[in-house]
Amino acid sequence: MADLKVNIGNLELKNPVMTASGTSGFAEELNDFYDVSVLGAVLLKGITLKNRDGNPYPRMAETASGMLNAVGLQNKGVDYFIENIYPRIRKYQTNLIANINGSTVEDYIIVAEKVNELDDIAAVELNISCPNVKEGGMAFGISCPSAEAVTREVRNVCKKHLMVKLSPNVTDITEIAKAVEGQGADSVSLVNTFLGMAIDANKRKPLLSTVTGGLSGPAIKPIALRMVWQVHKAVKIPVVGMGGIMNATDAIEFMLAGASAVQVGTAIFKDPFIPVRIIEGINDYLNHHNFNAVADLIGNLEI
């Protein structure tokens, strides 16, 4: 067994495989299939200050090697989470990471403060890249000043590891990454979904109730991989890579491009065991290629 441990700054993971926010519920749903304690971390479904119903149905459209979603951060709000969900899931022996969202900077601050109190939440992922909400969301993540502002304010209050999740819908993602690094982010995770659209040609209507939605899955992998590589070269804080990872080879590619760990999202919909198989596959790769530790892969790309 190779050494699969990685550190994302002060965050220790037993292995570099996390499940992505919005694709692994509150860990319980995956735990119906297997013990989630085998995972490096579970990113919880995005939470907001107040209850959000999300967007109307239909929220999903399949695309070539991918899908669009327009869920719109449906959740019952941070207080409901703290009272009803957290007590049930805090027992899981993995890093639970809260994905926090807001329409305003104040929203983010309050949610971050409340999460501070939760001992069994290992870190906060600051989502400034959700393309499916009318206010806030991606708007924060596509310009340097707003990304800086929200990161700075949340950093001020957040006592946990602060991972900032970046939007790929930008001209130069390294600028945003550097901006949030400058405001004290402990790590960056990328990418969130790409803004896309799907149409029903026969009905001459959009397939999503919101017209546009977020594209995820293998379709986006080449772009996500390029962004991870660029950001890895541009910042000193650790990078968490994601976008279309379906198997161990994909995960290893992200690590070679500079990711210290990966998140698996849409793949879970195809098969909830994929994250587990990726952990095994990384171990096999390390043995086969005579690496002692998975950390040796990070950024280990010969150009």
């Binding site: 299939f33 239909p58 999903m60 869920v71 449906q74």
Partner: protein
């Protein structure tokens, strides 16, 4: 809640029932868990290049002795067309058992099961598993024409079968809600169950609501994951937006926010 699994099955039979419907039986090496009528599988249609996600299909029959599950596949698009062509001996991966089943009838209930299109399977499964005497189970199937109906004479042992067709080529002419069982004898039923096209289920629900009869419908919202993590399959209910894949697919019509 039951543990869920991803299991590999082997196709042991694929029988074309009519132009658009096929019966597919899949066998597992290992024992099957108990599966309730209304529950479904999420199937990987692995050799359809055009689709990316799995496709949900209701359980139609379970043969626990031989570890065989049957499904009825109606060809609608690319995935179902490929699945309907799957060969005996091929492998098939399914996530299961998913969703919650129907509220089972009480032993002295008289029930009406209304199915249409891809909604036939769960109705027949429920008829079989209801544990009621055949006189107390009425099965009403609607379709466009005789050719769209599948032969379900086997199910006479579980209930009384009624047909309706839009063109009158089999059974009574008209929609299921125009059928005499529905029109005249509805008050005789303690519980109504329906699965099929949206318009059909809504028409049934409207009348059931008016007459205040217990009525459950099984929804077929588009799904990505099938086990509650993506929140794509939601249905507005009195309890808020609920996932059809975990809180359904069966809902009591009083919970739904249908404009009917």
């Amino acid at each position: 809640m039951n543990k869920k699994e991803v299991r590999e099955f082997i196709v042991v039979e694929n029988k074309r029932l009519n132009k658009t419907n096929s019966l597919i039986r899949i066998k597992s090496q290992a024992e099957l868990p108990k599966i309730m009528p209304g529950q479904f599988l999420n199937i990987d249609i692995s050799n359809c290049k055009e689709i990316f996600l799995r496709r949900p299909f209701s359980v139609f029959e379970v043969d626990y002795a031989n570890n065989i599950i049957s499904i009825l596949v109606k060809v609608l698009g690319r995935g179902s067309a490929t699945l309907a062509d799957i060969g005996t001996g091929e492998k098939l991966s399914a996530v299961f058992p998913l969703g919650k089943g129907f509220t089972m009838p009480d032993s002295n209930d008289k029930i009406l099961l209304i199915g249409g299109g891809s909604g036939t399977a769960p109705m027949l499964f429920l008829a079989k598993e209801s544990g009621l005497t055949p006189e107390n189970v009425h099965i009403l199937l609607g379709a466009r024409s005789e050719n769209d109906h599948i032969d379900i004479s086997d199910y006479q042992q579980y209930g009384l079968i009624h047909y309706s067709t839009d063109d009158g080529s089999l059974g009574e002419k008209g929609f299921v809600t125009q059928h005499s069982v529905f029109q005249h004898n509805l008050k005789n039923f303690d519980k109504i169950y329906a699965c099929g096209p949206d318009a059909m289920m809504k028409a049934v629900a409207k009348v059931a609501k008016e007459k205040n009869i217990f009525c459950e419908v099984s929804l077929e919202n588009l799904m990505a994951c099938g086990f509650g993590v993506c929140l794509c399959c939601i249905e507005p209910t009195t309890r808020g937006n609920l996932c059809v894949c975990t809180e359904g697919p069966v809902f009591n019509i009083n919970e739904l926010k249908w404009q009917i």
